[in-house]
Amino acid sequence: MEVTKVSNATRVFKIGEVETKALRGVNLSIGDGEFTALVGPSGSGKTTLLQLIGLLDQPTTGNVVINGQDATNLNRNQRADLRKNAIGFVFQFFALIPTLTAYENIEMPLLLNGTKPAERKKRVNEMLQAVGLTDRAHHRPDQLSGGQQQRVAVARALATNPKLILADEPTANLDTENGKQVMDIMQRLNKETGVTFVFATHDPRVIGYANRVVTLQDGLITKDSQSNGKS
């Protein structure tokens, strides 16, 4: 079953009189449980494609379907609702709220979707355990290492049980060891829970984890290959 489908998507950015075509007509279908890497050089359009799938941005033409729902004509609030319920995000920078503890950061999406307190507590503790940070629950981001922060971000992305996790260069700001830890956790969760991961990267070590590699160049998909992925 498809988690997301992108059809004929283009994205044109206009800065003054200058138009930049970041995507030039992309078609991509991601199935349930995939662990897919979007690869390509800087400026190839992988982050833009990830933002369209994540409903953070809208295509200039074409459409994006999430869990069978066409997001083309949704307004801001409807897109926010769909993001809240169906998509989790892990960003390149450690995108945590600096004034909240690890526990509270993971709890935030659960508060937004109205999860009851007891269920919230159970779920946050499960996620902290899943990323191995139970003992860091009440630390704020500035008291955590980069790797720990990114693991909190992964836990937050998974907290609401979304079908799809989008990760933009998740290891770009991490050293090898921490990068490996984060990828290992993502891969384990993919296997254990069946949640779909799509991540943009140009790090060969990260690409090695993927069981599908989609290559972009100049706003177009130039290659789409299956891979065994690291085990």
Partner: protein
């Protein structure tokens, strides 16, 4: 909701200096509003109380031909047999004091100096004279049978270098139009703390004033005090007669009411300026916060927080700043008002025709003013935060995540 408060509280704590400055701006603004309102209220209240105490009473009974623009000693413009009228007035239970007074214009001369004054003939034994009796700064109060004594105000005494037992000449027009003069002795010097009044008002016993002006058994007015000023209207109605004009303190002090209206407009302009400055500081603080936290706003949007949730976040922060500011304003303003309620603000001789201002303004803060200004300051702060809150709510997630777009 609790998460919104928690986040707002922590966000305020992130830049303590800036938050404290914003709270201080709201607090100082509100303190100024409270002080100005209290000073204005105190000034108007003081002028009204002085007028009721010294001039208008709660009620005055005047002859039917009474004209407030001139002082007439013609018999037809005076009340004949005032004691009979007073007897009737005193039969009303609300009336505490009723006393006859005779007003006359005079010129007080002393060697080569002269000064226009108003002579007021009073019954020295009346309770209505308590403000003058308690304000005696030198000499003795008048006796009813004193045929040569007068009381003068402290300001007049200072201006003419007069002392107790000094002799002065008074020149007055009598009821039949003749001009008469006589030497009087300064028996005492009083102070009402209203320089304009003390400079121009001279008291003498009623009997002497009547004898001097050939108005025997006549009075210009019956000065009436009641248990409370609010009783003036019903008592005036009860005393209504075609032979007299019964004037309440409200009718006699219309000028104060007009001045109060004018002062009220000036006060509103002052409020708008202070609140405008306060609002600008709050808006500026929150706009800076939006710029600083653009990426965080993007993160919140990415995980599904809607625009109204982001807006609520900033409004909650503004509400916390407003609460801190209002509490600070009540403390600072309360302390300032308390000081000026006790010690007053010296304004000196702020003479204005028809208005009796003391040489000090004593602040008077009412509960109504406190509540109104607290609410106005609080909501102004919230309104000032609407622009930055909307700015944050309208950020496109993708731009906000890149730290731009604000």
């Amino acid at each position: 909701m609790s998460q919104t408060f928690k986040l707002a509280f922590r966000n305020i704590g992130r830049n303590k200096t800036r938050s404290l400055l914003s709270i201080l701006a709201v607090a100082v603004g509100m303190a100024l509003l409270l002080l100005m309102a209290a000073v204005m209220e105190g000034e108007m209240r003081g002028a009204l109380q002085s007028s009721m105490k010294l001039q208008s009473g709660h009620i005055q009974i005047r002859p039917a031909s009474y004209d407030e623009n001139k002082i007439s000693l013609k018999w037809e413009d005076l009340i004949e047999n005032p004691d009979q009228v007073i007897e009737k007035v005193k039969s009303l239970p609300q009336v505490t004091v009723a006393t006859p007074r005779l007003m006359a214009s005079a010129i007080l001369t002393l060697s080569d100096q002269s000064k226009g004054v108003q002579v007021v003939g009073i019954d020295p034994a009346s309770e209505a004279n308590q403000p003058f009796r308690s304000g005696m700064v030198d000499g003795q109060f008048l006796q009813a049978d004193d045929r040569e004594g007068i009381l003068i105000g402290q300001t007049l005494a200072e201006k003419l270098s007069l002392q107790v037992n000094d002799r002065v000449n008074l020149l007055m027009t009598t009821s039949n139009g003749d001009v008469d003069e006589q030497l009087f002795t300064v028996r005492g010097i009083y102070s009402t703390r209203i320089p304009s009044y003390d400079e121009s008002t001279v008291f003498m016993p009623l009997a002497k004033a009547q004898a001097f002006t050939a108005t025997a058994n006549h009075a210009s007015t019956i000065f009436v005090l009641l248990q409370t000023p609010e009783q003036a209207e019903p008592v005036a109605q009860a005393l209504n007669s075609k032979n007299f004009k019964v004037l309440t303190w409200r009718e006699q002090n219309a000028l104060i009411t007009q001045f109060e209206d004018f002062a009220g407009i000036a006060l509103i302009i002052f409020y708008l300026i202070v609140l405008g400055i306060t609002a600008t500081v709050v808006t500026n603080t929150l706009v800076m916060a939006v710029f600083e936290r653009t990426r965080e706003i993007g993160i919140l949007a990415a995980i599904g927080m809607k625009g109204r949730g982001i807006m609520a976040q900033f409004l909650t922060e503004a509400a916390l700043l407003a609460t801190g500011g209002v509490i600070g304003g009540l403390l600072i303003g309360g302390a300032l008002v308390a000081y000026f309620t006790v010690y007053g603000i010296y304004i000196g001789d702020y003479g204005m025709t028809g208005l009796l201002f003391e040489d000090h303004i004593y602040a008077h803060l009412t509960l109504e003013n406190t509540l109104t200004l607290t609410i106005v300051t609080y909501f102004t702060t919230l309104v000032a935060s609407l622009y930055p809150a909307r700015l944050a709510a309208r950020l496109e997630p993708v731009e906000a995540l890149h730290g731009s777009g604000a």
